[in-house]
């Protein structure tokens, strides 16, 4: 009978499989519940050999199990577990138990007892380890249950004496993850079970198996992460582990020592073999430094990385890391760095170097030389010279962090960082340049160092050069020769790589404004002026000349005597550059001339408050226009929009805010214009005109709302509501217009239906915001909803029209920060008159270089569009790797666009622009709808709302001259 029943259940199960293909999601859920466990049971009973059973289990593991049936499945598995003789099957069952208890929403406390019981009679070490793993999963699922944890820890302690490393490993892991962290919470539990977790784990630091030792250290670190304060006594134990034979043990021990040094930086430890004592953090620092010359590179990387975060170490220890006493035949020798420094301070430059220039000088006392220092000596010297670039990068990073916190150290490590600029691996070079930039506020470059730094400007990698420009932007140079050298090298760079123009100009801008006094004596030479003779006027379009001018003008800003040295054409050029490159050329007070911008320049005295006030005042005015006549409203809006746009131009920090509100007001203005009563009442002949106006307005409003929603970063939920509301109004307007122009009722039905659906979804999405929208269009519409649903389309249209007119204008609250996404295509410049020639049918690669600002997730949204003269448009998705992130909110796109076309008779221009793609599904509103967890269900769901996908052009188009030639035969 029972067999018969089971068979029936099994049959049912097979039926369900078929049904899964149909979209009956609710039914499916209910049906699978009993059958899942039952099917498993049948399978396992049918299994004749362990191999068979294993196969069934493997198959079973591939399918998810619903929360409700987990417990049943677990029971069946356990039942089978006790019967099974084959260890591999038991192992699989144990792992399945762990997997099942991970199921979301399932509370595994009901199966815990059974799981612990299974441990009792288990003989196989592997199965035991797996069971402990399962217990670990159970324990982590029940974080709020100290007694369960206590029990599990107790079980783990019992099995710590097992002879298999795997079991001991798991035990330690379990103790580490579940061991009690706070003391004295439950006294009695404390005393009986986990006497002292730390002690138990500590005992296993000397286990015979390296894997167990590693596990013990890891468990200790786990306890630390969970908030337990480790005892200082462990320190000496951990120090011994540093000399372990196995790299994973050493690696973990380095971590543990680091943790302890952060916990007890100030306590005193004795130095073995002498009766001195030092601070623990210094001792630990020395020990970790020692590990930088470990045999295994994994440990070296780890050690080098951790060094960076030991900022409490005393400076005397820190400076030792860069110290490496050189000697040659037992005589003290100066390092190349020292020699360079001496050469520099003696005021002598590049003397003809001789053989024996570095001949060793004084004799060293043989006893005093320590070849293997116990301390930190030369750790970074070794780290930076390491064979593996991973270690070098880690060392550079550590150097950076330490130098940021200690100016004197920064000064000292400079030489070494400069040396790293010549590393063979580009990543390392780049990293060291970035590091240098980060510590640049602490340092001043000597001339010989600058020389080395500048030599890298010729690097063929663009990233390196640009990083170097960034570095030069914030470097302090000590002498005027240094500035000159930098300028010369930058100009050399400019001729070699003309594409670096923007970056070099920017770099010179900062270089000039940082060192006005150093630039001053160079001015006559740079401008090649002569006291008696007139020199020819340089070419204004020469990038090199512009570069020189940028340097000088920026220096002149804080050096009032400088303009006296300018010649006439320099002033003319100033005026030109001030207009054309206003971001690079600052306003100057020039004698005999008015300041170019008569108003007080915003960059000198920022008036943030008044302009912000102005913004709010004008908005306030607009929101109170209710009592004005329509004509007045329109005018007011127009003026306010104009004001706001101007404000945005003047105040860069308010630009986003001003533009955003202006766009909003523009939408409102368009809406009002389109709804003007006069227009709707005119006779049929004139009807066409107003129709065109209204539909155009509706279209534009829609576009603008998308812009508002997706082009600004910092838009919050409340703004989104209002934007959506505006969009709804535009859609209503569209409906009205179509209703008036189309004859017949049939098509209208569909449109009304759709519109009402949209109102509905709006209500669903923003239900919480509705109370704020008293008197608005939606508010009124929702009141009338029951009527709307039942009435005819023509009536609907009428209702809509009146509601639209009567509804109030919604107040747009402004968020704290609002930035408009902008993009600027640097390359192609669009200036070239030489067409890009290529054979038709083949492709040509066009380099595109653009800066993006305030774009969220550029990898996903930014696209490049190419418009051909025949109207053909091509959309290119740049690779994620093409985006670089030089600073917060800024991105840089450097990519290649492949062009191709059939042959043309003459060259023509194509347009390249950047687009911001959006998808209303991905918008902030839709994230509120909770997503269903089961993937099967998601597939079954009909596509909820048609995500409106579109693109917003957000950069000025650039024209490129191309000429596809016909292929020669």
């Amino acid at each position: 009978m029972a067999a018969h029943l089971k068979k029936r259940v099994y049959e049912e199960f097979t039926k369900v499989v078929q049904q899964q293909h149909e979209d009956l999601s609710t039914k499916k859920l209910r049906l699978t519940k009993p059958s899942k466990s039952a099917a498993l049971h049948v399978d396992l009973c049918k299994a004749t050999s362990p191999a068979d059973a294993l196969q069934y289990l493997l198959q079973f593991a591939r399918k998810p199990v619903e929360v409700e049936s987990v417990e049943g499945v677990v029971r069946i598995l356990l039942e089978h577990y006790y019967k099974e003789n084959d260890a591999s099957v038991r192992l699989k069952i144990a792992s399945l138990l762990g997997l099942l208890s991970k199921t979301a929403g399932f509370s595994p406390d009901c199966i815990m007892d059974d799981a612990i019981n299974t441990l009792q009679n288990e003989k196989s070490h592997q199965v035991l380890a797996q069971l402990l793993d399962t217990l670990l999963v159970i324990g982590t699922k029940l974080p709020e249950n100290p007694s369960v944890r206590m029990r599990l820890v107790e079980v783990a302690c019992k099995h710590l004496t097992d002879s298999s490393h795997g079991v001991r490993n798991k035990c330690l892991q379990l103790i580490g993850c579940l061991g009690p962290v706070e003391k004295g919470v439950s006294k009695e539990a404390e005393s009986q079970a986990a006497k002292d977790v730390q002690k138990i784990i500590g005992d296993h630091f000397n286990d015979q198996d390296p894997r167990v030792r590693t596990a013990a250290i890891k468990a200790m670190l786990q306890l630390h992460e969970r908030g337990l304060k480790l005892q200082q006594a462990i320190y000496s134990q951990a120090c011994k582990l540093l000399a372990d034979d196995y790299e994973q043990v050493r690696s973990a021990a380095v971590q543990l020592i680091w943790v302890l040094s952060q916990l007890y930086p100030e306590s005193i430890v004795p130095i073995p073999s002498s009766n001195e004592e030092i601070r623990l953090v210094d001792d630990a620092f020395g020990k970790i430094c020692h590990m930088v010359s470990d045999g295994s590179w994994v440990v070296r990387v780890q050690a080098a990385k951790l060094l960076g975060s030991m900022q409490q170490v005393s400076s005397h220890f820190l400076e030792q890391t860069l110290d490496k006493k050189l000697m040659s035949d037992l005589r003290r020798k100066r390092t190349a760095h020292e020699r360079a420094k001496e050469l520099y301070s003696s005021g002598e430059f590049s003397s003809g170097r001789k053989w024996g220039d570095d001949a060793p000088k004084e004799e060293i006392d043989t006893g005093a030389v320590n070849l293997i220092e116990s301390g930190a000596c030369g750790a970074f010297v070794h780290g930076l010279e390491d064979e593996m670039y991973e270690v070098r990068i880690a060392a550079v990073e550590a150097l950076c962090m330490l130098a940021q916190s200690s100016p004197s150290f920064a000064e000292k490590c400079l030489d070494f960082l400069v040396d790293m600029f010549n590393d063979e691996i580009e990543e390392v070079r780049l990293q060291s340049i970035h590091t240098m930039r980060k510590i640049s506020h602490n340092i001043t470059l000597r001339e010989d160092q600058l020389d080395t730094v500048l030599a890298v400007l010729e690097d063929s990698s663009r990233d390196i050069r640009e990083a170097l420009h960034e570095l030069l932007c914030c470097t302090n140079v000590s002498t005027k020769e240094g500035i000159h050298l930098a300028l010369v090298e930058l100009l050399k760079n400019l001729t070699k790589y003309p594409t670096d123009r923007e970056s070099i100009w920017k770099c010179l801008k900062f270089l000039g404004s940082r060192h006005p006094t150093l630039v001053l004596p160079l001015v006559p030479e740079l401008l090649s002026t002569h006291p008696f003779f007139d020199t020819p006027e340089p070419d204004m379009d020469d990038p090199a000349y512009i570069a020189v001018l940028v340097l000088i003008f920026n220096a002149a800003k804080s050096c009032p005597t400088m303009p006296a040295l300018f010649s006439d054409h320099t002033f003319r050029h100033y005026a030109y550059l001030r207009d054309s490159l206003s971001h690079l050329v600052p306003p100057l007070r020039l004698p005999g001339r008015k300041l170019v911008s008569s108003t007080v320049s915003p960059s000198i005295t920022p008036h943030e408050d008044p302009s912000q006030q102005f913004l709010h005042q004008s908005l306030e005015r607009v929101y109170n226009f209710q009592h004005l006549d329509p004509q007045g409203i329109q005018e007011l809006l127009e003026f306010t929009i104009r004001d706001l746009q101007r404000l945005g131009e003047l105040q860069s920090e308010l630009a986003g805010m001003a533009d955003f509100t202006a766009t909003y007001l523009q939408c409102q203005l368009l809406l009002i214009k389109a709804l003007q009563e006069k227009l709707w009442n005119v006779a049929a002949p004139l009807y066409l005109k107003q129709n065109a106006l209204a539909s155009a307005a509706a279209k534009q409003i829609l576009e603008e709302t998308y812009k508002m929603e997706f082009m600004y970063s910092g838009v919050e939920g409340r703004q989104v509501v209002i934007i959506h509301h505006m969009r709804l109004q535009a859609k209503a307007l569209q409906l009205i217009v179509t209703a008036r122009t189309t004859r017949g009722v049939e098509p209208l039905f569909g449109m009304c239906e759709k519109f009402l659906q949209e109102v509905d979804s709006f209500q669903r999405c923003f239900i919480s915001e509705l109370p704020h929208m008293q008197g608005s269009f939606v508010d009124k519409l929702l009141d009338l909803m029951p009527r709307l649903v039942t009435s005819k389309p023509s009536e609907v249209v009428k209702i809509l029209q009146t509601t639209l007119r009567q509804s109030t204008f919604l107040h747009l609250p402004l968020p704290e920060q609002l930035h408009r996404a902008t993009a600027n295509i640097i390359e192609p410049t669009g200036e070239s008159d030489n067409p890009l020639r290529f054979t038709s049918g083949l492709v040509v690669a066009l380099d595109v270089d653009a800066t993006l600002e305030h774009v969220q997730d550029p990898q996903g949204t930014v696209k490049v569009q190419v418009l051909y003269p025949d109207g053909q448009a091509q959309l290119i998705h740049p690779k994620p790797a093409d985006f670089r992130n030089p600073g917060p909110g800024r991105h840089r796109l450097i990519t290649q666009v492949y062009l191709s076309h059939t042959a043309w008779t003459e060259p023509c221009q194509i347009e390249v622009r950047l687009l911001l793609a959006y998808n209303s599904n991905r918008s902030k509103a839709s994230t509120r709808i909770p997503k269903s967890t089961w993937s099967e269900n998601l597939e079954a769901l009909p596509p909820s709302e048609n995500g409106i996908e579109g693109t917003i052009p957000f950069s000025k188009p650039v024209k490129v001259y191309i000429m596809p030639k016909p292929a020669r035969r």
């Binding site: 004496t161 002879s163 000397n206 286990d207 015979q208 198996d209 034979d245 010359s293 045999g295 490496k324 006493k325 050189l326 000697m327 040659s328 035949d329 037992l330 020798k333 390092t335 190349a336 760095h337 003809g352 170097r353 001789k354 053989w355 024996g356 043989t366 030389v369 070849l371 293997i372 030369g378 010297v381 930076l384 010279e385 390491d386 064979e387 593996m388 670039y389 070494f416 040396d419 790293m420 010549n422 590393d423 063979e424 691996i425 080395t452 030599a455 010729e458 690097d459 063929s460 990698s461 070699k496």
Partner: protein
């Protein structure tokens, strides 16, 4: 060879009855019999093959392999010769070159021939890195990476549990084409290490490289020509890589040439043995083999007169003859040009003269050459410095260190340092001297599994670091050692079991009655020995595990109690502990 000396490396090691010869080099300083090692040290009569188990060559430099054909073909050795694959490939080229110079140029006779080199190479067995090669049943060798030059290796020689590591020449700092030497913690009984730079700690290689590149770059930008005299192998490749990457990075266009011949052939091998190079070359070779130079082309004699800047690598390295000297003569007159000497120059060569500042050189034919070009010196050496040697010792953790391949005075210093820092004994034998090192060989003993399991089950878990006491009987039978349980030993030997008990009397001052004393002792022991089972038997005696303690009154003095402690010899440890415990007396506190 190589004892307190550089050159002619040749070391004999006898380890556990096996004889191994390490390296077989020539000496550059001599042209007579002293240039080769004296093989009569090995044996006066009889063939060498009978006395040597194997020969190991660490790398292809002539001072490590130069005497090999002489040794194997002329003296006579037919056993295996071990070297790494790159060494096996490059070694014959160098030997052939050496032979040509000695025989063809200097006209010597009685020297090995090309055929001998070929025959010698047939005896070579090539090994891979970290490959354990069984020379015979007991002797095994294993190669470790050593840097220095392509294919250089350190060798671990192991017989039973005794082992020796021979480093050959090695370099602990990576360079542009090779990685750093590495060895695991193999804890050999003896580490034989080179000590060329025993008293030198070198500056960072980056400064040197940067200087070198800067000099070359500046000269080329000025329109000058750069001459770099190099030897064919080793440094030449490093400098080529350095310049090649620099040219690539800086987008330079000036041509770089290297002299044809040997270098070309060698570059071919460098291309093949990519796995022996450093991380960068290994990782990028999928895109491009770094040794397939883009900017470096073969040199033709006619190019020397070409106008415009260029960089030329030419052999030989000391400017004493050949192509490099020819080019030097052509270019020396122009102050825009530059010559960079990347290595050491022997006294008497043109290279040495110009480095010491001489500006007017007398060439053959009494003509005077005025040197106007700039002369630079750059040291690119690939030996480990003092710190590197110490680092290797730290990595390998040997029990003894032996220094070779260096000068005696410098070795003295390093020796002292090693003894001071690592507390291991250090030797520096001269040529012909023999050093004997005592080892503590461990003798493997078979143990029956049952006994092992039984013994490990007792007490705490076995600990790798601490020796564990085990009870068992050692059976030495038929040249094999076995550890078996006592019962089994008795059975095998056919002996009856005897019991051995120790008894000891402890006097305690205690006026109380016997059983009370017994109770006190019981309580006391119970308090101390928590982990043992302490029982109080009804007849008044106490047992701790198997140890029996009885308290009786002293026959004469009732105030003194005599404690009788008795234990079997298996419990010796616990028993003696207990006695000493009881001798200390009982605590005076309340029972």
């Amino acid at each position: 060879g190589a004892g307190q000396d550089v050159g002619r490396s040749c070391i004999l090691v006898s380890i556990a009855g096996k004889n191994v010869m390490l390296d077989c080099g020539m000496h550059m300083g001599y042209n007579d019999d002293r240039r080769f090692p004296d093989f009569s040290y090995i044996t006066q009569n009889g063939r060498l093959t009978d006395f040597l188990d194997c020969v190991i060559i660490s790398h292809f430099h002539l001072d490590h392999c130069g005497a090999l054909p002489y040794f194997s073909e002329m003296v006579g050795y037919d056993g295996p010769i071990y070297m790494t694959h790159p060494t096996k490939a490059i070694c014959p080229i160098l030997l052939e070159d050496y032979r040509k110079i000695t025989v063809d140029k200097k006209g010597e006779t009685n020297f090995f021939t090309s055929q001998m080199i070929k025959d010698c190479m047939k005896k070579v067995v090539a090994v891979h890195l970290h490959q354990t090669v069984q020379v015979d049943e007991e002797l095994e060798i294993k190669a470790y990476y050593a840097g220095h030059v392509l294919g250089a290796a350190m060798f671990q020689i192991k017989v039973g549990c005794e082992s020796v590591v021979y480093t050959g020449d090695y370099n602990m700092t990576p360079d542009r084409h090779l990685g750093a030497a590495w060895i695991d913690k193999c804890r050999p009984d003896l580490l034989i290490t080179e000590s060329t730079y025993a008293t030198t700690i070198r500056d960072s290689k980056r400064c040197r490289e940067r200087d070198f590149l800067k000099k070359v770059h500046e000269t080329v930008e000025r329109g000058g020509k750069v001459l770099i005299p190099v030897f064919a192998l080793g440094r030449a490749q490093e400098l080529c890589i350095l310049l090649e990457t620099f040219w690539e990075r800086m987008n330079l266009k000036a041509p770089i040439y290297f002299s044809t011949g040997l270098t070309e052939k060698a570059n071919h091998y460098y291309k093949l043995f990519i796995t022996w190079t450093n991380q960068k070359i290994r990782k990028t070779f999928v895109q491009r083999n770094m040794f397939e130079f883009k900017h470096i082309k073969a040199f033709d004699r006619a190019f020397a007169d070409n106008p415009g800047p260029m960089v030329v690598f030419a052999t030989p390295g000391m400017l004493h003859a050949g192509q490099s000297l020819q080019i030097f003569r052509k270019w020396a007159g122009n102050e825009k040009n530059m010559v960079i000497m990347p290595g050491y120059c022997v006294q008497g060569t043109v290279g040495h003269k110009i480095l010491s500042g001489q500006r007017k050189l007398e060439m053959e034919g009494r003509q005077i050459l005025e040197v106007k070009m700039q002369v630079e010196y750059m040291s690119f050496s690939a030996h480990a410095d003092a710190k590197g040697i110490m680092q290797l010792i730290r990595q390998a953790e040997p029990r003894n260190v032996l220094l070779v391949h260096g000068e005696a005075k410098k070795m003295e210093f390093l020796k002292q340092k090693i003894e001071q820092e690592f507390h291991v004994s250090c030797f520096m034998p001269a040529n012909g001297e023999t050093t004997t090192i005592l080892t503590n060989p461990c003798i493997p003993v078979d143990i029956s599994l049952g006994l092992l399991k039984r013994e490990t089950a007792i007490g705490p878990l076995p600990d790798a670091k601490k020796p564990k006491l085990m009870h068992g009987s050692l059976l030495m039978k038929d040249n094999s050692f076995r550890l078996v349980s006592p019962e089994q030993a008795l059975k095998e030997l056919g002996l009856a079991e005897h019991q051995l008990r120790f008894t000891c009397r402890v006097h305690i001052q205690d006026p109380r009655k016997e059983h009370e004393t017994g109770l006190r002792v019981y309580n006391h022991l119970k308090g101390i020995l928590k982990d043992y089972s302490v029982q109080h038997l009804p007849d008044g005696s106490i047992t701790v595990e198997s140890i029996l303690i009885q308290a009786t009154a002293h026959s004469e003095d009732q105030g003194t109690k005599v404690l009788l402690v008795s234990w079997t010899y298996q419990d010796e440890e616990l028993g003696s502990y207990l006695t000493s415990l009881l001798k200390k007396g009982l605590p005076q506190s309340t029972p």
